[in-house]
Symmetry: C2
Subunit: 349 residues, 2 copies
DNA sequence: TATTAGCACTCATCATCTGAGAGTGCTAAT
DNA sequence: ATTAGCACTCTCAGATGATGAGTGCTAATA
C-alpha cells in the first residue's frame, strides 16, 4: 500500500517540523507553516491514515503526531535530499584535518571532535581493524643486560613494541639472529593468520641458546600482536546529548552514557557494521532503542577500513549528518592515501 | 575558638549520618541514633552554635543541618579514623592488578577501574609525567625506500616511535650513522632539557648527505619527544555519579560530565597536585565547587610519579576512599619496582 | 548554670482541584 | 473529496490545603 503524493508531503512536513522543534506536530501548524493547499481537517484525516499505517504515533489523545522509526526509515531511504555542506563547515574540516594529517591517531581523534562539533551530537572515530595487516619485520633490541625491546612493524608502516625482561642475559648477536629468524618466519603473514594458526616451533632450534631465547620472547610476541589488533576508539561530545530534550530525564541520560562506558563492547559492535554510510534507526539498533546511529568508513592506503560515527536521538537531521560524514570520510581517505610520496611524513612546523 | 568535645561528637554524628543518607540531619534523629546522653534540645543548641561557626548549613528553616566544606575539612584533618580495607577489596585489588602487572598501561587502566568499582565513584588514573625521563638511545630503521621508523627509548625502557616519509631515498648506512650520532648527542639528557634548549645543529654536518637527512628527521624527532611527554589518562565510572542524589538534576550531571570531557585541562590540573594522598573539598577546588577530589601518587622504578584519583560529591566516605587509595598506590608502586630481575616481563600465559 | 520539655512557627512536599489551551475525531454541509 | 464546526480528551500550570519534619524560643528543672 503505497503512500500518496500528498501523504508523503505531509509526512515530510511532520518530520521536518518535529526534527526542528522536538514537539508533537498538530494538523493546524502543518497547514499554516507548509503550504499544502488543504485545510487542517484534510491533514487530520491523512494523519489518521498515516498513523494507522505505522508512520506516526500519538503520545496522547489531544497531542499532535510524532514520526515513528518507520517514518524516519522512509525519510532516509526515499524522501531525504542530499544536503550541501556549508562553506564554513567545509573550511573547518579542511583546516582542522590538514593540521594533523601526518599524525595518524591524532587525525582520527580530530575527526571525532569535528563530527561532534558540527553536528552537536555524540560522535566517535576509530582506527582501522588490522586483522588483514601483514607483518613486515620483527626486531629485537637490547636495552640493558636483561631488558630488551621487541618491535613489530607491519606492511603499512605501523609499529608496535613492548619492553620485556629476560631471566638471563643475552647477546646482541643472538637478538640479531632471532630477529632475522622471526622476520623470515612471519613476514607477509597477516596478524589473524599468525594468531590463529599457533606458533611454529621448528625454526632455529639447531642452536640451543637461541631456542631458549625464542621461548622467552614468544609470549610477548603473541601479546604484542594482539595489541596490534586493537583499534583505538575516540569518543567526543557525549555531553552534547544533555542539551537535547529527549535526554532531559536523568535516567535516559544515564542509560545513554552507560552504553559508551563499555568501550570494548561498543568497538565490537561498530566493527561489525557494513562499510559506507549506514543509518540505523531506533528499534533497528539492539540496544540504543531510542537512538539513531550513523556510521561511515574511511580508508587507509586504500585498503584498511576505519569507522566514524554519530549517535543521537531518532529525531536527527539525517540529511545534514550523512552529508557531513561523507565529506569527512572522503577527506580522511584522501589524507591517508599513501601511494605517492607527496607527503613527507613530517609537518611543516 | 575550639570546639568542645561534645560539639565534635555531634559534628561527627551529623557527618556520618549525612554521608550515609544524603538528607539533612535533625536533632531528634541524632539523639536517637547516636547515644550522646543528651536531649534533642541540647543538640539543637549545639547545632545552632556549630552553624554560627560555619560548620553546618541550613537548606531552609524547617530542615535539618548539612555539613559544610569546613566541617568535612575538620573531619578529614582530625576526626577521621583510618579504615581497614575489607579482605574482599584487598583480594580484588591484588588479583586484578597482578593479572596485568607486566603491561604498564593496562595495569594503570585496571587501577582506575578498580577504584571506581570499589568506591562507586568516578575515578581516573594517569601514567607518570616524564619530564625528567632521560633518553637512552635513538634508532632509525628503514621500512621502504623512502619510509623510515624513528624510535626513541628512555632510560626506564619506555619506547615511542613514529613512521616518517622522506623526500628522497636514504641508505641503511646513513640511518645507522645518524642513529649513533643522535644517540651520542642526546643520551642522558632529559626530555624537558632537549625540548627547551632547542636543537644543537653542529653535529654531523661534515657529511652533507647526513646533514640533509638529519634536517628531515629533526621535526619528527621533536614531535616524538613531545609525544613521549604525554601522559595517558584513563577515566572510569563516570556514570556512577548518576546514582547519587546530588546529581539527580540534569544540569548538575551535565556540568560534571563536561569537566571531564576536557581531558587535557584535567590532566594538567592533576599533574599540578602534590604527591601523596591529597584531599580537596568543595570550594577548595577551583571548578568542581561541589565535589571533593582525592588524589594519590604511585611510583615507577621508585622515581617517576603517576597519579590516581577519585571524584565525587563532598558527601563522601573520606576514610574508606583514602584507605583504598593508599592500598592501591602501594600495590602499584610495588608492581612497578624494577630494581631486581624477579619479573620476567612476559606473563605466564 | 546547664539541660530539658513544651509549644508555636516555618517551610517543603504531596495530593487534589481547577481552568486554559491544544489538538483530535466525528458529523454534516459544501 | 474536502472542509467547517463542535464536542471531547488530555496535558499543563497554578492554586489550595493538609501533613509532617524540624527549628527556635521560653520557662521549668536538676
Amino acid at each position: 500500500m503505497d503512500l500518496s503524493e500528498r501523504q508523503l508531503q505531509i509526512l515530510q512536513a511532520i518530520i521536518t517540523d518535529y526534527v526542528e522543534n522536538a514537539e508533537p506536530v498538530g494538523s493546524r501548524s502543518i497547514a499554516k507553516k507548509y503550504d499544502l493547499g488543504v485545510s487542517p481537517a484534510t491533514i487530520r484525516n491523512e494523519m489518521s491514515d498515516l498513523e494507522e499505517m505505522g508512520y506516526l504515533t500519538h503520545p496522547h489523545t489531544s497531542a499532535g503526531r510524532v514520526p515513528s522509526d518507520k517514518a524516519y526509515r522512509l525519510y532516509v531511504n526515499s524522501l531525504m535530499k542530499k544536503k550541501n555542506l556549508s562553506a564554513k563547515d567545509k573550511k573547518l574540516i579542511n583546516d582542522r584535518l590538514s593540521a594533523s594529517r601526518d599524525e595518524f591517531d591524532r587525525t582520527i581523534r580530530h575527526a571525532a571532535e569535528l563530527l561532534s562539533e558540527i553536528t552537536n551530537l555524540a560522535s566517535f572515530a576509530m582506527t582501522p581493524a588490522t586483522n588483514d595487516e601483514t607483518i613486515s619485520f620483527i626486531r629485537l633490541m637490547p636495552v640493558e643486560e636483561k631488558t630488551i625491546i621487541l618491535m613489530i612493524v607491519s606492511e603499512s608502516g605501523s609499529v608496535t613494541n613492548t619492553t620485556l625482561r629476560l631471566p638471563v642475559p643475552c647477546t646482541a648477536e643472538s637478538l640479531e639472529l632471532l630477529s632475522k629468524n622471526m622476520t623470515v618466519n612471519y613476514r607477509g603473514r597477516t596478524l589473524d593468520d599468525v594468531l590463529k594458526n599457533e606458533i611454529i616451533e621448528d625454526v632455529g632450534s639447531d642452536i640451543e641458546a637461541l631456542a631458549a631465547l625464542r621461548g622467552n620472547v614468544m609470549p610477548s610476541f603473541i601479546r604484542t600482536l594482539e595489541d596490534m589488533l586493537n583499534v583505538n576508539l575516540y569518543m567526543e561530545g557525549m555531553t552534547n546529548i544533555f542539551n537535547l530534550p529527549e535526554y532531559s530525564s536523568i535516567d535516559r541520560a544515564r542509560d545513554f552514557m552507560e552504553l559508551f562506558a563499555q568501550k570494548d563492547w561498543f568497538t565490537q559492535k561498530m566493527l561489525a557494521r557494513d562499510d559506507g554510510v549506514v543509518v540505523t534507526i531506533g528499534e533497528e539498533n539492539d540496544s540504543l532503542k531510542d537512538c539513531s546511529l550513523i556510521t561511515a568508513s574511511y580508508h587507509v592506503d586504500g585498503r584498511l577500513v576505519g569507522k566514524i560515527g554519530v549517535i543521537g536521538p531518532t529525531r536527527m537531521k539525517y540529511d545534514e549528518v550523512t552529508s557531513i560524514m561523507e565529506y569527512l570520510t572522503n577527506n580522511l581517505s584522501e589524507s591517508f592515501r599513501l601511494t605517492d610520496g607527496s607527503e613527507t611524513g613530517d609537518g611543516s612546523g
